[in-house]
């Protein structure tokens, strides 16, 4: 046991002597959170819109007012022709044109429905879909007022009432992107530090030849290797705290669920990542190989297949199958449920169980492949 701490101390020396790497490791989550939070945000703010109102009645005026009042939209001008609408969109003077049909109110009273066209610039699909979503939800939320204003009363059950498809966004009513990427960044950073750094530091010993000396000494290789995980475990915990603090206090993402279970889930994921690092180190014989394996085999799938960027349910079947084997996918799901949705721990038992099994399997596999000799 004393030997174990001797090795842990040595690992800390390696890490702290390499100031540049420590800085990168500690600042990376800060930079990523800030980048994702502010620069890469696909939220919409201050979108200019024009109105092409063919009816100009109380209802259309009301809807236009509602849109202008929202923090997302700024009323630019009234226009009178479709050509003008086209021109404004093409020249990017506005991002949205709201078009009301003729006799908007009359149609509403008579048929129970009327048409609003929302014209957006689809060349930037992310912005376009955001703009549509926001505008839709504003209109939908105004339904009751609109009905009252129009003086329409449903006569009977057969007669359809004014119904817009109501898209209700739970948990993230403003569709804040931070809600989506905070779990993703947590998964990414923890995987990076634990898996990549651990495997690289073990393989470094092989590469510089110190492993040869250590193997010819009474130290058990398993001590050498397990001691490597301690400093990276601690670094990961620091980063976990950084990410959570930044997301709560800077990005305003609340921890709606139990923080204890969230931390527990994160610890389990850290163990999965550390064991992944150990596993990589038993295959790789050079630092570059370790970096490539952890980068290509583990990091890329984490970003692409874990649901961090693209939802898993939208993937082709085969990729969905592959995604099941990615620890980060389960972690990100668990964090979403625990942190964003505030669900009780019973709802993530499956995720916790799968991650624990993965950690156990990887650890057993890597301990079995620890070599007592050079080959």
């Amino acid at each position: 046991m004393k030997q174990f701490w001797v090795f842990v101390k040595k690992e800390f020396m390696h890490i702290f002597r390499d100031t540049r790497t420590v800085m990168i490791l500690l600042l990376m989550p800060v930079v990523q959170i800030i980048l994702f939070g502010f620069a890469l945000s696909n939220e919409i703010k201050d979108v200019k819109f024009a109105v092409l109102d063919h009816s100009k009645d109380a209802v259309t005026t009301f809807i236009t007012e509602r849109i202008s009042q929202s923090e997302y939209f700024i009323f630019a001008r009234d226009i009178s022709t479709e050509e003008e609408a086209d021109y404004l969109i093409k020249s990017s003077q506005v991002s949205l044109v709201v078009v009301y049909d003729n006799n908007f109110r009359e149609n509403l009273v008579r048929d129970g429905k009327s048409q609003i066209s929302l014209v957006v610039d689809g060349s930037d699909p992310n912005t376009a879909s955001g703009v549509l979503r926001y505008a839709n939800s504003i209109i939908a939320s105004s339904n009751e007022h609109i009905l009252r204003l129009s003086g329409f009363t449903p006569l009977s059950a057969e007669k359809p009432t004014f119904i817009e498809p109501v898209v209700e966004l739970l948990y993230n009513p403003q569709m804040k992107s931070a809600y989506n990427f905070v779990p993703g960044v947590m998964g990414l950073i923890l995987m990076l530090i634990c898996a990549m750094m651990t495997s690289v530091s073990i393989v470094r010993e092989k590469e510089i030849g110190t492993m040869e000396v250590l193997l010819a000494s009474p130290v058990r290789p398993v001590i050498v290797i397990l001691a490597k995980t301690v400093p990276y475990f601690i670094l990961s915990v620091i980063n976990l705290a950084t990410i959570l603090l930044l997301s709560v206090f800077v990005l305003g993402v609340p921890i709606t669920g139990s923080i204890y279970w969230l931390v527990l889930a994160s610890f389990i994921f850290i163990f999965v990542s550390l064991s992944t690092g150990l596993l990589i180190s038993s295959f790789a014989s050079t630092q570059v190989a370790a970096m490539l394996i952890s980068g290509l085999v583990f990091m890329m799938p984490v970003m692409l297949l874990s649901g961090m960027i693209y939802p898993v349910s939208n993937m082709p079947y085969l990729l969905q199958v592959v995604a099941q084997f990615i620890p980060a996918k389960w972690f990100i799901e668990a964090v979403r449920k625990l942190m964003i949705q505030g669900l009780p721990v019973t709802s993530v038992l499956k995720e916790l169980f799968i991650m624990t099994s993965m950690a156990a399997a990887f650890t057993v596999l890597s301990i079995r492949s620890f070599k007592q000799r050079l080959e």
Partner: protein, 308 residues
Amino acid sequence: MSSEHKPVVAENISKTFGQVTALQNISFETERGEMFGVIGPDGAGKTTLFRILTTLLVQTSGSAFVDGYDVKGDFRKIRKIIGYMPGRFSLYGDLSVEENLNFFASIFKVNPKDNYYLIKDIFHQLEPFRNRKASALSGGMKQKLALSCALIHKPSVLFLDEPTTGVDPVSRREFWQMLDRLKAIGITIIVSTAYMDEALLCDRIALMKNGILLGVNSPAGMVASYNNRLLAVKGDDMHSILKVLRDIKVVKSAYSFGHEHHAAISPDFGGDAVEKISQELTARGLNDTLVKSIKPSVEDCYMELSAN
């Protein structure tokens, strides 16, 4: 560390890596407290042999024992009693001289102060740099540090794999002087080198080539068993001289040796070898050549043994 066992016993060790045979039927024994040299060029199999004896590789066939322990079955026991210094610098460059030493002392569970007397002479020279990072040391200093780290637990057998390769001549000489002092303390030293001149500093040497053990003897015994007559030949056109020498019947082998060529004359030849070779050279139009009889060196023995 039982005195009835030989420090190192190798019995018919062979090692293959896939199709490549690295070692072939290597057998030798070392005596306690001797300096045993494994001499051979790069690729002779020295490092593989060392790795088998230090339990880092398992031999394909044959068996080996260190202090009576089997390198295969008792590897944990062997790892407690040996000191090993691999061919390339393998300490932590980002740790200081002192930190490296303390680290290696603690993995052998010894207090560096207890065995300091062993490394005192060596470490004394490193004292001024004790807080310097190991990566910033000169080549010779690095070797001294590596030796100190391999010695700090007072090993019974010390394995040094090409410790002087890439080290300047002065540091090399110093290094061998240190080994002599360690030998005096009673540590058995197995050292490998590609430098033939270092063979003379060993008690006994094993000559290796292409995974084969050519012979084991003391340097003096090795030279004494050389039964050819040896000539040194010098002249203007060294290239042609070598070609001609190899054509002469009584010359068993001829090879460049520094600034001259050495020609081994078969012991069967009864006449005056110097006279005979001079005549042959002149007869083929090579004038102004200097032929003289010389005493063989270990390298000549190596050439002779490796030719057979």
